[in-house]
């Protein structure tokens, strides 16, 4: 119990730390970059070749308070965030929080489907391969998963688009109009995810099976299935849970290339667009949201490991 409180406390601290660092970083970088922020915003808002762009830039500067001292701007922003007011987008003047939440929803949808696909493949493959560590398949799948991981995910995405959307015309190419649109991007992400997670499953299962306690359970006469289910799986699942947790965290923002390729309105694409148009409030909100999700996933994984592995309860809190 003490351990649980420790983990929760640590993750709350870490969440605050990440939120603080991300916002500070956004702020610092936004004002360090070469070029005039107000001019950039005016150009994105009113078009690049506008005649009165300098005047408009000045007006933007006044409206957004960009001429105030940096410390004032930063403290102002922190004060607003403390009241859960994340500000409005510099570009289209909508509140940033709903925009970010909507993008997070799309990323979550894509991520859940992708993880589902990935586990459908990785669990059976990993278990079958891991049960026979000295078999032929062990090496073959090791090579295969290295090969799959070597090919960048966007190249997989292009290949799937060419095959299933352009040649066979089974699935739509990109965007989001109906649930079928999620299949191709999710399958693309699932491909690389399952390559790594099936390896983890196989390796950790193989390690469990080779351990003395497992051999003892078999020698005392338990059947293979009984040993696997009641002695093996729980121990083997600790690295698997950690790996899947890391994958889940990486799906929020780590799949920018895929979201761009499929024009998927997720948080990666939102972040990319905000970066290219220098929309600092959106960047700050999205950054904080992603940081907090990362912390939440890590905390969940830590707690799950605590449940799965009794010895973890004895270890010193790192």
């Amino acid at each position: 119990m003490k351990k649980v409180v420790g983990i929760l406390g640590k993750s709350i601290l870490r969440g605050l730390g990440i939120a603080f660092c991300v916002s500070g970083l956004c702020f610092a970088v936004a004002h360090l970059i070469p070029g005039d922020v107000a001019l950039e915003i005016a150009m994105t808002r009113y078009g690049e070749s506008d005649v009165g762009i300098i005047d408009r830039a000045d007006r933007v500067r006044e409206e957004e308070g960009l001429s105030l001292p940096l410390a004032v701007q930063y403290l102002d922003w922190i004060g607003k965030v403390a009241r859960l007011d994340f500000g409005i987008s510099l570009i289209d003047k909508t509140p940033t929080l709903p925009v970010v939440l909507r993008a997070l929803k799309f990323s979550a949808l894509l991520g859940v489907v992708a993880l589902g696909f990935s586990l459908c493949v990785a669990l059976p493959v990993g278990i079958v391969v891991g049960l026979r560590p000295r078999g032929k398949f062990y090496l073959v799948t090791a090579m295969l998963s290295s090969l799959i991981v070597s090919i960048p995910s966007f190249v997989w995405g292009i290949s799937l688009i060419v095959l299933f959307a352009l040649k066979l015309k089974w699935l739509p190419v990109a965007g989001f109009l109906s649930p079928t649109y999620v299949i191709l991007p999710a399958a693309t992400i699932a491909l690389t995810l399952s390559a790594t997670s099936s390896r983890i499953i196989a390796v950790s299962l193989a390690e469990t099976i080779n351990s003395p306690y497992y051999a003892f359970a078999r020698h005392k006469g338990l059947s293979e299935l009984w040993t696997l289910f009641f002695h093996g799986l729980r121990n083997a699942s600790v690295p698997v849970v950690t790996c899947i947790g890391m994958q889940a965290a990486s799906l929020f923002g780590g799949t920018i290339a895929i979201e761009t390729l499929f024009n998927w309105p997720g948080v990666g694409l939102l972040f990319l667009n905000a970066v290219t148009s220098r929309d600092i409030p959106v960047l700050q909100t999205a950054g904080i949201a992603m940081g907090l999700i990362c912390v939440a996933v890590n905390t969940t994984v830590d707690l799950l490991c605590l449940v799965l592995k009794p010895t973890a309860r004895l270890e010193r809190l790192g």
Partner: protein, 266 residues
């Protein structure tokens, strides 16, 4: 396995050198001759502006490798230095260092690179810098852990008692133990950097357009993919083979302790 990886690397280097030696200009456009099929003049055909794909792919590989190598070298040096110094200093310095690495490893490196590279708009060097700033933590943890183990050995203690300067002890006793493990990490790090840099170029962040880069070449050819699907093949194949070779090279030196490093690519 490792020999196979080295062989693939050698083939890629040979390809790049041969193409570069032919001296075709990777920037020269020929708008009357777009999407040409492979010929003796254009070994892999031409792209949507009539530029030679082989020359661009060779130059692009060189660019990717250059930037990836720079980021790996930087993070490796920084991480190893901090790791060894942290272990040597001990006490509060060490725990602060560990907490920092803990924090940085939870940080999404790709997003940070996108953020910095996209906002500074100064080509690939901001991306390299941000990759260094997020990747050093792994090297730091690894070298600190090994340094701790080595420092507990009697011969290091004997060295301290003999009054050898710490720089000598670190150089002669600790550093050699770290090299092999760091080489493995660096090989994976290189693979990861290549993938990161080209993903960022794929979404338009990084090198400025006329400069060839593998990820950028792929995204440039996307609008024409319906008619000419094969122009994405050369850059994709080069990048994938290179990354595959690096993973193969690294997996040979893999030890039990870092078995899971190879699975952590994504």
């Amino acid at each position: 396995m490792r020999a196979f990886g080295v062989a693939i690397c050698a083939c890629i280097i040979a390809f790049v050198l041969i193409i570069m030696a032919r001296g075709t200009n990777p920037y020269a456009q020929d708008l009357m001759n777009t999407f040409a099929l492979p010929s003796s003049e254009h070994l892999l055909g031409t792209d949507y502006l009539g530029r030679d794909i082989a020359a661009r792919a060779a130059r692009g590989t060189l660019n990717s490798v250059l930037y990836a190598a720079a980021s790996v070298l930087g993070s490796m040096t920084l991480g190893t230095f901090l790791g060894i110094s942290g272990a040597w200093a001990g006490g509060r310095t060490e725990s602060v260092l560990l907490a920092t690495t803990d924090f940085i490893m939870a940080f999404p490196g790709l997003l940070f690179a996108l953020f910095v590279g996209g906002l500074f708009k100064l080509g690939a060097w901001p991306i390299v810098m941000s990759l260094i700033l997020t990747a050093w933590a792994e090297y730091c943890r690894m070298s600190r852990a090994i340094a701790r183990i080595v420092m507990a050995r009697p011969y290091v203690e004997a060295g301290v008692i003999c009054g050898y300067p710490s720089s000598f002890l670190i150089r002669k006793y600790i550093f050699p133990e770290i090299v092999a493990q760091i080489a493995t990490l660096a090989s994976f790090g290189m693979a990861k950097s290549i993938l990161y840099i080209s993903s960022l170029n794929f979404v338009g962040i990084g090198l400025t357009p006329p400069v060839p880069e593998l990820g950028a070449m792929i995204s440039e050819s996307l609008p024409y993919i319906r008619r000419h699907p094969f122009i994405v093949v050369p850059p994709s194949a080069l990048m994938s083979l290179f990354v595959f070779a690096l993973i193969l090279i690294a997996s040979k030196t893999e030890k039990r302790s870092d078995k899971f490093e190879s699975e952590r690519l994504f």
